[in-house]
Symmetry: C2
Subunit: 461 residues, 2 copies
């Protein structure tokens, strides 16, 4: 028989429900140099809570702007909802290690065991809770790969809130079934760019035939929220509040590793807007900033949308329509239209300002990887670990494997931890292309990037 694998501990480390974190962790509190503040697009000055209040829920604004409070208690109703699908397992990848014949120990925090198929639910339920608490009728949002939209529709169904989703057109077309999951939860779904908003009509006129982008869908969702009474806009990534909620991932990982007496050497996550990566690494970054431990943090992004590895660290608009506040971040320019890559969730032109600042301070590294090599890693992972990963998550798998192979070369037994953000059940169109050998890679040329950079706003603070 092929398999005579010796498993010397549990494959899956589950916490008890009463070991789940009682507060989210705000890494900005431990950063000496804080991320730059958001700017009001009209005045180009730091934006106030009041100026944000027509777009965002009040409590979420408080979380967004607070850079000093280290811990925000998780409300009881949110903790109750979390128990529906959390704690998530930290899994020792014994089978993958065996296939690689690596001395490295590989662990992954698996966030895909819920119907949204990803970690997005962690913030969706928090945002829906605060919207309900404020007495709102509903929320609008955008979704890329569809995971955030699904998560938000689940959260809104739980709190009886109306949910209106603008879905990036290429995902809408590649993932028709995602729409039905959202409808099952009572949400309405519109492909973006659409003719239902001014900004959508403008983008359609300028780029007929565009397959859309997150930046564009954000603009439409914001416009739509502003036009409706009792509605606010909510966002699934990039923002400080989202990273805050997602720290439930990192905090659980921290507790689980402590429980089994393992110290991580390398922590890896895929990075689109940064919600998963930020949530996973924040508590460990906090340890490092406080001088308690040292880690290597690696952000993995697609070569087709390389905001960290090839972008500029400047103020930019968060959306294509330039209606949102500006953020200082690594960006390719809000006018950058990523190729119709299959990793819909990693197509954002910018990056969370917290992660941008950590990258700039060299606390965190970043690498970019190409799509076909990502799917090769995905297939190996599926066949060995028995989980069909989302293309987004597979970016992290790719680099975890690469690092494990370096360990093999050097005979090192490092502890590699990565975030497995979700499952690929709705990504079979992409898998089909890969299985049939017709998947391509795309890397923007320097000229394309320069053209996008030329559209960056000139800010004089």
């Amino acid at each position: 028989m092929k398999h005579s694998l010796k498993i010397d501990g549990p494959c899956k480390i589950y916490l008890q429900e009463n070991e789940m974190p009682e507060a989210w962790y705000n890494v900005r509190a431990d950063m000496k140099k804080k991320p730059a503040p958001l700017l009001n697009p009209k005045t180009m000055k730091p934006i106030s809570a009041e100026e944000l209040s027509s777009v965002f829920c009040d409590e979420l604004i408080r979380q967004e702007l607070d850079e000093n409070t280290a811990y925000f208690p998780i409300p009881e109703d949110i903790r109750t909802f979390y128990k529906m699908y959390r704690p998530s397992p930290l899994v020792r990848a014994y089978f993958l290690e065996q296939a690689l014949e690596t001395p490295a120990h590989i662990y992954y925090k698996f966030e895909g065991n819920n119907t949204s198929g990803s970690h997005k639910l962690n913030s969706a339920i928090a945002q829906a809770y605060y919207a309900k608490q404020q007495g709102l009728k509903g929320v609008t949002t955008e979704t890329g790969a569809g995971q955030w939209g699904t998560a938000l529709s689940m959260a809104c169904a739980f709190f009886d809130l109306d949910c209106q989703v603008y879905m990036v057109k290429c995902s809408y077309e590649q993932k028709p079934f995602r729409r039905e999951v959202m409808r099952t939860y009572g949400a309405s779904v519109t492909p973006s760019p659409s003719d239902t908003t001014e900004v959508g009509r403008k983008i359609l006129a300028e780029f007929p035939g565009t397959t859309g982008s997150l930046g564009c869908a954000i603009s439409e969702a914001v416009e739509s929220a502003l036009k409706q009474d009792g509605y606010r806009y909510v966002l699934g990534s990039v923002l400080n509040q989202v990273l805050l909620h997602q720290t439930v991932i990192g905090l659980e990982t921290q507790t689980a590793l402590k429980k089994i007496g393992v110290k991580a050497d390398i922590i890896i996550g895929c990075a689109g807007g940064g919600s998963n990566l930020g949530g996973l690494i924040s508590p460990f970054v906090g340890e490092q900033l406080r001088g308690e431990a040292n880690y290597r943090f690696i952000a993995v992004e697609p070569a087709s949308c390389p905001s960290l590895t090839r972008g500029r660290y400047v103020y930019d608009f968060c959306d294509t329509g330039k209606v949102c506040p500006l953020s200082k971040m690594y960006t390719l320019g809000s006018g950058f239209m990523p190729a119709s890559s299959h990793s819909g969730g990693l197509r954002y032109h910018g990056m969370s300002s917290v992660l941008s600042e950590l990258y700039d301070q060299k606390v965190m590294e970043a690498v970019s990887v190409e799509q076909t090599s990502v799917f090769e890693a995905a297939r190996l992972f599926a066949r060995t670990e028995g989980i069909l990963p989302a293309p987004e998550s597979s970016h992290a798998i790719r680099v975890a494997i690469d690092e494990a192979m370096k360990c093999k070369e050097n005979g090192e037994s490092k502890n590699i931890v990565f975030g497995l953000t979700g499952t690929g059940y709705f990504d079979m169109v992409a898998y089909e292309k890969f299985n049939s050998g017709v998947m391509g890679d795309y890397i923007p040329t320097d000229e394309e990037l320069e053209k996008a950079f030329a559209g960056l706003p000139k800010i004089d603070l």
Copy 2:
């Protein structure tokens, strides 16, 4: 706020990996009146191990025919693989209970947290293991909803076995992405009936335009195995060996309930061929047969394919092409062509002989439910418990809800346990029909059934 739910214990009861069962339980050992033996289709006499050996793997034949050994040890390699996705959680449905305002306590054993999306992997890995152990090159099989085929392709990838799947045509068309999951794991997939086998060609000639059935796909897979050197046929349901492997579900459930000190009153499962239901209830049936406890067992089947509630308890062919052994079972006749229902996995004309005998002995009850009421239950479950259930599994949800509502009427606080066999991510075509209000119900007429019964074999033992 809507939710001020009091949760007085864990939502999810997880066993430790070392609490997983070390042996499968064979309920036939505790049955005084045993299920009737399989018959050789050529001689119409009880079939011998030798006669079965051209079709099935040797060790699986031994398990199939042994009605006296109560426990079969689970080989170490299978236990290792189980750790990849087991133990599965037993979940207290607090959120559903709250929505129903029922005093009943509802628990479900959730088998959907693996890439096959269902419990099928429990037997797939066992069957692949024994095939590999016997030195075979590969296996053939049929799949209805696609879950068994996916599970088998995962198991075969793990043991480097070739895997050839005949997929019921209506599922093949409704679930194109299932095919890609199987291909990702290296399997080949053929829609059935096909022109690659004699029996397929014959059925196509007789019923042009048929959307296929499990019985027909079985015939094709068996013929294909017999024609290839080093191949055997494996089956995902109905057989004693499959129910045996699936008892890992019931044994874990038994351990988990003991751990929390809960005695089940009603145990409910959906029934197609009987693999999930048999696996779930067997250990509890054993208790009851040994006089240690009393339970109500309820099999739930679709009104469109009501083998227990409207079938006959006679010897019948297991497949449409009549190449397989005959089994005494509740059946609608192997010529019965179920309507193109969406619950592809519950479209089998017959029923496991063990469950048929338990039903005949009145140890187990059965009810049939209609498709739209099943999807209503599925939607409520998705919105409250956060899991999008497979249509098959939702048959059990329907009856669990019905029983919980009876408890509400009578003010009884019963413990209801049901099997949630899988997730519905690949069933969005059906959900779309339901969401759009165009889903219909279909109940065969007495005349249709009489016509199918007329084709039953006349057996004189």
